[in-house]
């Protein structure tokens, strides 16, 4: 090759090269945006896991399990979710105190709600780990101790149901107004 000079670029060459580089730049930009969106989605799913997990086991969940939840949710991608489902979930994640009453209300009034599905999936992920399994293994407190505990659960469930039903109604009404407004 040495000693041979390259041919001078023509206008066509320059235009083609520009077009190509523009296409490559667009591709790279799209890839970056997709990665950014994925990262954002992953982060928001992890936040969701932290809020729901705290409700389920009464404390923070290991980061590894939150990441596993995010991975599972991105894989499963529930396509049947409605606007109300989304609102319920957003409301719960933003106000973690409301997850317990909303879940209690959904268990009776909207058993197919996305919030319930997500809680059950996270419960599965927590249970299938040595750290989380402790919260799922059977307990034996004796017949009387168990009876007292069940009574406590019944009282707390009724209170949560009453609050949750009111919250659920309010979110439903708000969602209806928002949809009509659109």
């Amino acid at each position: 090759m040495r000693g041979r000079s390259l041919p001078a670029p023509t206008i066509t060459h320059i235009l083609t090269a520009r077009r190509r580089s523009r296409r490559v730049a667009r591709l790279l930009y799209n890839l970056y945006r997709t990665m950014e969106t994925d990262q954002h989605l992953h982060r928001s799913l992890e936040q969701e896991a932290e809020a729901l997990g705290h409700y389920l086991i009464g404390g923070p969940i290991p980061g590894e399990l939150a990441a596993r939840y995010a991975e599972a949710e991105s894989l499963i991608r529930d396509r049947s979710q409605t606007g109300l489902d989304r609102r319920l979930l957003d409301f719960g994640v933003r106000r973690p105190w409301s997850i317990a009453p909303l879940d209690a209300a959904c268990a009776l009034l909207r058993p197919q709600a996305m919030l319930r599905d997500k809680l059950l999936r996270l419960a599965g992920i927590l249970e299938a780990s040595p750290a989380g399994a402790q919260n799922f293994l059977p307990e034996s407190r004796g017949p009387l101790g168990t009876l007292v505990r069940l009574a406590g659960i019944a009282v707390s469930s009724v209170i949560q149901l009453v609050i949750g039903a009111a919250l659920l109604k309010a979110i439903e009404v708000h969602a209806g107004i928002a949809e009509n407004g659109q």
Partner: protein, 542 residues
């Protein structure tokens, strides 16, 4: 190798039909799709379920699956009991064997070992009357029950259920009862006469499980992992027999093949057309006889397609099935023993004054993950979890099987698939109101007796028609010369050398699992085919 017999299917029927033929020295080819599971089995350490949950950091891979398939939510459906390591059992089925039905959920398998890989191992022989109802001669079948029992290994007890299951010479001791079931059994023994007067009998189930070491299998180690793995090969799977067969020089395992149809040639040979499962290439395999043991619905497809009987209705029977979660008050709040087994702990037989006996199995619910139960509770997930942890040791599941017999509302037919589509099996299955009423009455009576034993039903779940996975009666044994029936030797009428060895030949089903009876009949068919070939060979030589 020239084949004397082709067997289609490697499930409980296929391998048990092939065994007597191979033992008699005939050259046998077993044609099978042969899906296998290689991902999860190596990941599961041979440790008890309770220990794995506390210690194994990799448990999410086999408990939930790499694609989180164990987290699937939604309605209870047929096959929902399959854990990720068992889901290969019904892989590829919807693509290769489409079923169309609004009223029936069918489960089929293209796995090596068929549905036997997910079998609950209940091994119950039919009584003489039940065999007669199914179209099988009692006297002929007893010897085959014994042979199959010796082959697969059955454990159990000679107790109050002996008159219903008959004796078994090679019976191994039953597994140790877990504490939950043990408390129920103790109560029953105290008031046994009262229960008998009500037509209710309780005892240990017969299980295809080696509690003692036998032919390199067992003894059972109480790992409580039967839904997930096959430790020690204690529980019988048809794959164990297939492996033994593969060691014989006169046996050929032709896997990755999908059996399509057969035809009989003028020279007396049967020609099986099969499709390569990976490349889609067609091939034919010739032999002197063909045994179809691909599972009731698959065998029905092959027969209807081969005889050109598209859109012809054939009967279908399937045990109606109900399960009832119960709370055993005697175990309420008490600890449970850790040495335990996931399979059925107890079996009851209820003999109603106005119908056939109804069989119920009792399982202690502890061998699956708890989160699956959370959605069933009408409470918030956290409270449901707290409540479940408290009552888990006292939870049990009653699985009630009802008898079934043919009727015009239960049938299936094959529709030719157009435009490169596969043929579709259409199933219509409805129960008449009197049958439903009878079942409801029997269930009430059974639950009343379990209440007397301290078990309180929480709800009654009917997962829908087909959920028992006990399909039968499509090409039944019949004394009349009707088309699409078999003679008493299970030879398909109108053919010289085509035999059926699975549930398709059973005219009706008693309220029992039919797997052991399928295996015993397959053993009989294998022996009969061998005898026919020997007679033919003797005639030819003479």
């Amino acid at each position: 190798m020239r084949h004397d017999v082709i067997v289609v299917g490697s499930g409980p029927a296929g391998v048990n039909a092939a065994t007597p033929l191979v033992e008699a020295g005939w050259n046998v080819a077993l044609v099978d799709f042969g899906n296998r599971e290689t991902t999860y089995a190596p990941l599961i350490p041979n440790q008890p379920f309770s220990q794995l949950r506390r210690t194994d950091a990799m448990q999410h891979r086999y408990f939930l699956g790499d694609r989180f398939e164990g987290l699937a939510s939604g309605k209870v459906r047929v096959g929902a009991q399959l854990t990720p390591p068992r889901q290969y059992v019904h892989a590829d089925v919807s693509q290769w064997m489409p079923v169309v039905s609004e009223s029936f959920s069918a489960m089929e398998s293209l796995a090596q070992g068929g549905l036997g890989n997910a079998w609950g191992a209940g091994a119950f022989s039919f009584s003489d009357a039940e065999l007669a109802g199914a179209g099988l001669g009692a006297a002929k079948m007893r010897r085959h029950y014994e042979r199959v029992a010796a082959r697969i290994g059955i454990s159990g007890t000679r107790d109050d259920l002996l008159p219903f299951f008959g004796d078994c010479e090679s019976l191994m001791p039953a597994t140790t009862l877990d504490s939950n079931a043990g408390r129920i059994h103790s109560r029953y023994l105290v008031k046994r006469d009262r229960f008998h007067a009500a037509g209710f009998y309780l005892g240990r189930p017969r299980l295809a499980l080696c509690t003692e070491e036998r032919s390199g299998r067992g003894p059972y180690g109480y790992e409580d992992m039967e839904f997930w793995a096959d430790f020690n090969r204690s529980v019988y799977r048809p794959r164990w027999t297939l492996e033994e067969l593969c060691r014989r020089p006169n046996f050929a395992y032709l896997d990755r093949r999908f059996a399509v149809s057969f035809k009989e040639n003028s020279d007396g040979q049967v020609c099986l057309s099969a499709q390569d499962a990976d490349k889609g290439r067609d091939e034919t395999i010739d032999a002197r006889a063909l045994i179809l043991a691909a599972g009731t619905l698959s065998t029905t497809r092959i027969v209807l397609r081969s005889l050109g009987q598209y859109d012809t209705r054939v009967p279908l029977v399937c045990n109606p099935y109900t399960y009832v979660p119960v709370l055993n008050l005697a175990s309420f709040g008490r600890p449970a023993s850790d040495e335990r087994c996931s399979l059925a702990q107890l079996t009851s037989i209820y003999t109603p004054p106005d119908g056939e006996p109804v069989q119920t199995q009792f399982y202690s619910y502890r061998s699956l993950l708890t989160f699956k139960l959370l959605k069933e509770a009408p409470l918030g997930a956290r409270n449901a979890l707290r409540a479940l942890r408290g009552v888990m040791n006292a939870l049990g599941i009653l699985a009630i099987n009802h008898a079934d017999s043919p009727s015009p509302e239960k049938s299936c037919f094959l529709r030719r698939g157009g435009g490169g589509q596969r043929d579709q099996l259409h199933i219509e299955y409805r129960q008449n109101p009197s049958q439903c009423e009878m079942q409801r009455k029997h269930e009430q009576a059974i639950l009343r007796e379990f209440r007397r034993l301290g078990c309180w039903p929480l709800t009654r779940v009917r997962p829908g028609h087909g959920s028992s996975i006990h399909y039968a009666g499509t090409i039944p044994i019949s004394n009349s010369e009707g088309q699409l029936t078999c003679d008493e030797h299970c030879r398909l009428r109108g053919t010289r050398g085509v035999y059926l060895a699975d549930g398709a030949v059973f005219r009706q089903l008693p309220a029992k699992g039919l797997t052991l009876s399928i295996m015993a009949n397959a053993d009989r068919v294998g022996e009969l085919v061998g005898a026919c070939l020997a007679t033919e060979a003797w005639r030819a030589a003479a």
